[in-house]
């Protein structure tokens, strides 16, 4: 099975997003590198709006992810409630 990954800028907003990713994907691997945080997981990774909002304590639009996003790998599927990265095979 292949790994999907996402990298975010290392800043205060991303900190909450990373916490939310860890909560929604308990077995994801979080790697800290200079100025960035890379998160990878086998097959599939999900970012849930509700979980991010709970961590941030404010409303959060899934598309706000664009502001702190560095790179990703995997097929993207985005709607109002979640952002999913996935390999089909």
């Amino acid at each position: 099975m292949s790994k999907v990954y996402i990298a975010l800028q290392d800043n205060d907003e991303s900190r909450y997003i990373v916490e939310a990713i860890e909560e929604s994907n308990p077995d994801a691997t979080v790697i800290h590198q200079p100025a960035m945080i890379r998160i990878e997981r086998e097959h599939r990774l999900v970012i849930e709006r509700a979980v991010v909002e709970e961590k941030m304590g404010r409303e959060w639009d899934v598309q706000e992810l664009h502001i702190n996003l560095i790179t990703l790998g995997g097929n993207v599927d985005e709607d109002d409630d979640q952002f999913v990265l996935e390999w089909k095979q």
Partner: protein, 500 residues
């Protein structure tokens, strides 16, 4: 009464698909004249899916936010003399390569995406390409702004655009993009949108930018990551394009595969300069080129090709050669620039003993055996006051335009050279990969503008090399070029830092 907020999918449908119209009294083929000649068959453009579903209003909103953050940091960087915080003045030379070699590609990408953003028949693809076109324009502008600060304090930044169009090694990135832009719109998308953006730009913008952060360069890491946040959308567009083409018609599969083979090879050749920047020009090391290659090409690219196998797509041709090259190319490229440092627009140097040890540790199978002895020799010669410069002009590959600096991967003591006779003229190549690309489209590549050929034909001024550098390249000879040791850059740095 408050209007009901649209969800992302409905908003995307209304603000992209709904903007399209049918051609009732004009000929559709005339409106999209480039859509058929490449042999790609599109049966239904409405099957196009943009997974990010970004609409123009959201695009402006988020891009504006990114720009505000970015320019606040540029201001702070400049007001606080941020250039004094970089780890080592040698590092700044990597930025000179970036500005002269890479930033102008962003401008070419802007032009290329503006073109295909007009020429595709499907509205979803057109909107996504137009956004990417605007992104690329933003990238070149922010990069010029970021590096304009360095231009005030260091040599080699002043004529980046003029140099990009003329200098021997800058013809490598320049011709890469000219090749893609002069192809048809679908090939351009596989070349730049898929091969370059999806797999290869990660290596430019992620480990190298993380390295910039690690070397105290706040301005570069900020423009790098800001650009890369758009790249994530570009990568998704690249992947969408390829899936769309493969799903539209089975006849598209062999055409797409041929483009993948071509553009992965072209891209790998282009990245040799990034390999060298990672291994030799970042004084504080984040990871070696080999390691970056394994994470972003082998692992990420491997996952991608496994996913595409269901369409009948295989790994790019020459993947085995590419795998072996990660052990060699950074060393071969830096040695070439070191020995041609008098004709480069940036400074070169011998790695410190500590850096040589790091390279030995990172490349246990190749560095001590093939490359360390060269640096030991260079050190001996330099100590005797005989710093080596190669006075000959190198032969260039007809396709990638890189000097013949690469070796056979199974015998790193043997230079790799190929040739091919076409209409009575003999053409030369650095590899089977480049030679095969020529054989597919010789009429295109016989027209290549090869800098060394042009010099010998008298089209670049001269005849002395010094005159060509000064008058044709607009290099500030004695300031922009030669070794880091004894350079005005080094002298200024020592003065700022109070070092004798």
């Amino acid at each position: 009464m408050a209007a009901k907020k649209l969800n992302i999918k409905d908003k995307y449908r209304l603000l992209t698909r709904d903007l399209d119209w049918d051609f009732s009294y004009e000929d559709r083929q005339q409106a999209f004249p480039y859509e058929e000649f490449e042999g790609i068959k599109i049966t239904d453009w409405s099957k196009w899916e943009d997974p990010f579903r970004l609409t123009m209003d959201s695009y402006w909103k988020y891009q504006a936010e990114k720009e505000k953050k970015l320019y606040a940091i540029f201001d702070a960087f400049s007001q606080n003399n941020g250039h004094l915080n970089v780890t080592d003045p040698r590092y700044v030379n990597a930025l000179k390569i970036f500005l002269t070699g890479i930033s102008p590609l962003e401008y070419q990408a802007y032009q290329g995406f503006a073109h295909v953003g007009r020429q595709f028949g499907g509205v979803g693809a057109r909107v996504a390409c137009q956004m990417q076109s605007l992104d690329e324009l933003r990238h070149v502008q922010t990069q010029i702004h970021a590096m304009s600060h360095y231009n005030k304090f260091f040599d080699g930044f002043q004529e980046y655009s003029h140099m990009h169009d003329r200098v021997w090694y800058l013809s490598v990135p320049r011709s890469f993009f000219c090749d893609a832009r002069s192809a048809g719109p679908f090939e351009f998308m596989i070349a730049i949108g898929f091969s370059f953006e999806y797999v290869l730009t990660n290596l430019v913008f992620v480990p190298f930018m993380s390295g910039a952060a690690y070397n105290g360069d706040m301005a570069t890491v900020t423009f790098g990551f800001s650009a890369q946040s758009d790249e994530a959308r570009h990568m998704t567009l690249g992947l969408e394009v390829i899936k769309f083409l493969l799903e539209q018609h089975e006849d598209n599969v062999p055409i797409v595969q041929k483009w993948i083979d071509k553009w992965f090879w072209r891209g790998c050749r282009l990245l040799s300069v990034i390999a060298m920047m990672m291994d030799y020009m970042l004084p504080n090391k984040v990871m070696s080129w080999k390691e970056a290659w394994e994470v972003y090409f082998e692992e990420a690219g491997g996952a991608l090709f496994k996913d595409l196998a269901r369409y009948g797509i295989r790994m790019p041709k020459y993947a085995e050669t590419i795998e072996k090259e990660k052990e060699h190319i950074s060393h071969q490229a830096w040695w070439t620039f070191y020995t041609h440092g008098h004709v480069a627009g940036f400074h070169t140097w011998i790695p410190t003993d500590e850096e040589l040890d790091w390279l030995s540790a990172q490349y246990p199978d190749t560095f001590d055996k093939y490359y360390r002895p060269l640096w030991e020799l260079a050190k001996e010669m330099e100590a005797k006051g005989e710093r080596f410069y190669n006075s000959g002009l190198p032969q260039l590959c007809q396709i990638c335009q890189i000097p013949m600096l690469f070796t056979e991967m199974d015998n790193p003591n043997q230079n790799s050279m190929r040739d091919y006779l076409y209409q009575g003229e003999r053409y030369h190549f650095c590899s089977d990969g480049c030679c095969d690309i020529f054989k597919e489209e010789p009429e295109k590549y016989v027209q290549a503008w090869l800098p060394v050929h042009q010099i010998f034909q008298g089209n670049c001024g001269g005849p002395d090399v010094g005159d060509i550098l000064k008058d044709y390249y607009k290099m500030n000879v004695g300031h922009d070029n030669m070794d880091m040791k004894g350079s005005p850059d080094e002298a200024r740095w020592n003065k700022w830092k109070g070092v004798a």
